[in-house]
């Protein structure tokens, strides 16, 4: 009977407990720079890894709002931009400010939170997906503002020369140091989101996602709970933006285009909505895929199969793999389409979402009603 098959409660990877996977991932992430230090892979990989970590932060943060409360935020990159610009403006020669790392990190997160609050005020009062529309508009307005408010942001020219941060008296300079700094924040964000998820607060978000009316009747202040999710996810984006600006030393509006918001959405859809390990995996895969492909075809595969192993290949295939970055959105799109068809719950699904995705058509449930009574009456154990 399909009803019973679909309600399976088994974890996605039943043979390994989740915490061991998390620990393994953390160890792998911590050991990764050593591959570069010992010359196993090229130095560029530290940059790839650091950028991937920034996207992991963003994916984990967006997942808080999209995965837990089910609200679509299509302008998430704007909160990232606000964090980045705050840091750039207050720690660069632009206006001669040099606010220290921690206060500026708090400021960056704080302004992103304020923006989240202001976006939430009009859109969360209404039921339904108004947030998607409002955030979409907000994302564009934010980028236009940074692009056109030249007296402050220097417009398309961007803000160069962002100072290196001093963290606990230690000047963070080398790429590898940034890698570890951002990794620390990734761990903090993961812990924060995981703790919220497994608490009264996270339960309220899930309940609102499943049935807003029932959740409110059960004592949840819907608007406030959603606002909390929106503001916390904005804070994570703000922190990510600040770290990104410090690391990059230069920002301009092109880093914060709408497509970036879309990519982050794709990352969590790929990994599995509501799933923290999914968000991490989705971000790492989608962000480093282009570099991985380029490297594979320009150095690793030639090393194995000989310099001109692509000699017989048609031209378009060769350019496809060597200039993979150009086709990035195409690949992202394809990956998502394939996922939605074959594994809509994502690579490492969250238990709740897996059930939701596989939930049966209610009309069909109505249809099996009589059978259900029979189960109830006779062989109750069918259900356990």
């Amino acid at each position: 009977m399909s009803r019973i098959r679909n309600t399976s409660n088994a974890p996605a990877l039943p043979w390994i407990p989740r915490w061991m996977l998390a620990l393994a991932a953390l160890l792998a992430a911590a050991a990764f720079p050593l591959l570069v230090e010992y010359g196993v892979i090229q130095t560029v990989w530290i940059r790839v890894g650091t950028r991937a970590l920034v996207y992991v932060l963003l994916a984990v943060g967006l997942n808080l709002i999209m995965g837990e409360t089910g609200m679509l935020n299509l302008g998430y990159i704007a909160f990232f931009a606000i964090g980045a610009y705050t840091t750039a403006l207050f720690s660069s020669p632009r206006f001669g400010f040099e606010v220290p790392f921690w206060p500026l990190l708090v400021m960056s997160a704080g302004l992103a939170m304020l923006a989240g609050y202001l976006v939430g005020l009009p859109s969360l009062r209404l039921r339904g997906d108004y947030l998607a529309i409002v955030t979409l508009a907000f994302g564009e307005v934010t980028r236009y503002t940074f692009n056109n408010w030249e007296s402050v942001t220097n417009g398309p020219g961007g803000i160069p020369g962002i100072y290196r941060p001093t963290v606990f008296g230690y000047l963070v300079e080398r790429p590898i140091e940034f890698y570890y700094l951002i990794l620390v924040f990734v761990v903090l964000a993961v812990l924060l989101v995981a703790n919220l998820k497994n608490s009264r607060v996270g339960r309220a978000w899930n309940a609102l996602r499943e049935d807003e009316i029932a959740a409110e009747a059960a004592g949840i202040h819907g608007m406030r709970a959603k606002m909390v999710a929106l503001v916390i996810s904005a804070a994570i984006a703000g922190v990510a933006g600040s770290l990104f600006a410090y690391y990059q030393q230069f920002i301009n509006p092109t880093y914060f285009v709408f497509m970036q918001s879309v990519i982050i959405v794709c990352m969590i859809v790929l990994g599995g909505l509501g799933s923290i390990p999914g968000a991490v995996l989705g971000a790492v895969v989608l962000d480093s895929l282009p570099e991985f492909t380029r490297q594979s075809f320009s150095s690793w595969l030639p090393a194995i199969f000989g310099r001109d192993f692509m000699a017989g290949w048609p031209d378009f295939l060769r350019t496809f793999f060597l200039d993979f970055d150009q086709y990035r959105m195409l690949i992202v799109g394809l990956v998502i389409v394939v996922m939605v068809i074959f594994r809509p719950e994502g690579l490492i699904p969250d238990a709740l979402w897996r059930r939701e995705v596989h939930q049966e058509d209610p009309r069909e449930q109505e249809h099996t009603l009589q059978t259900l009574f029979d189960i109830e009456e006779g062989k109750q154990d069918l259900e356990v």
């Binding site: 703790n195 607060v201 029932a214």
Partner: protein
């Protein structure tokens, strides 16, 4: 003594249709009162008006002497009124236990910051809440085994979903429990069992306002019956008397049957 619930000339219209028309009644503490009436007579709308899902156009609704008009649903629930839904509204992907825990939301204190830090107080409150949720589920003996508590609500049979709705409502320890057709779709044996359980809830000190549209079902269970038809109260009293009221018989069976009876 002030009644626990009082409707004062409440009217609610949708478009041109008066779903509830000039409705007045009271419920006293410790009573089991049933609202009955044919489909579409405004019973569920009355519940939605109490719980803040709809606002009345006219009239007032008092809970323990205080108006609840204008309050949000979560505020109403916080005052001690919990409800179930006729068209089940469980959190179907969440587990049985989690459904009950959501019902406890308003009684729990864990805030965002303590949750983020997962303070010992949070862990302790969570453990206590789970224990209490299990106690509530145990009010339905044999229906929510340990294994079933970890299953998603959507895996439950129809009757068990109805029971879970009640359990979730009970989780907030309400003084007034509103049950919207709690036995709909249950077989006679299950209905009897639930009626006993509802009486037990009253013995435990709760007031119960119950909607049912099958006259026979509530005869034994309720102290008092309010009969609605087309949004209006057409009769009120103890079940045996109301059941013989010609207006009620007519509303239920139509004029022809009424003349035969």
């Amino acid at each position: 003594m002030t009644p626990i619930l009082e409707f004062k000339n409440v009217t609610k219209t949708f478009g041109g249709l008066s779903a509830v028309k000039n409705l007045s009644f009271t419920v006293d503490r410790g009573e089991i009162v049933s609202i009955i009436g044919p489909n579409g007579s405004g019973k569920t709308t009355a519940f939605n008006l109490i719980t803040g899902i709809y606002q009345p156009d006219y009239g007032d609704i008092l809970y323990e002497g205080q108006s609840v008009v204008g309050l949000r649903p979560d505020q109403v629930q916080g005052l001690g009124i919990a409800r179930t839904f006729q068209l089940l509204r469980l959190f179907s992907s969440m587990t049985v236990l989690e459904n009950v825990l959501v019902g406890m939301h308003g009684r729990m204190r864990t805030g965002v910051f303590s949750a983020i830090l997962r303070l010992p107080s949070v862990v302790k409150e969570e453990r206590k809440a789970k224990a209490k949720a299990k106690e509530i589920l145990a009010l339905f003996p044999g229906r929510f085994s340990e294994g079933r508590q970890g299953q998603p609500a959507q895996a439950l049979s129809y009757a068990n979903r109805r029971r879970l709705e009640i359990a979730r409502a009970l989780a907030s320890d309400p003084k007034l429990l509103l049950l919207d057709e709690p036995v709909a779709g249950m077989n006679p044996a299950e209905t009897m069992e639930l009626m006993h359980q509802i009486r037990d809830l009253r013995e435990a000190g709760r007031t119960i306002l119950l909607i049912e549209h099958d006259m026979k079902v509530i005869m034994g269970a309720s102290d008092r019956v309010i009969v609605m038809d087309h949004g209006e109260k057409i009769a009120e009293g103890i079940p045996d008397v109301v059941a013989k009221d010609p207006l009620v018989v007519e509303a239920y069976l139509g004029k022809r049957a009424a003349s035969i009876a």
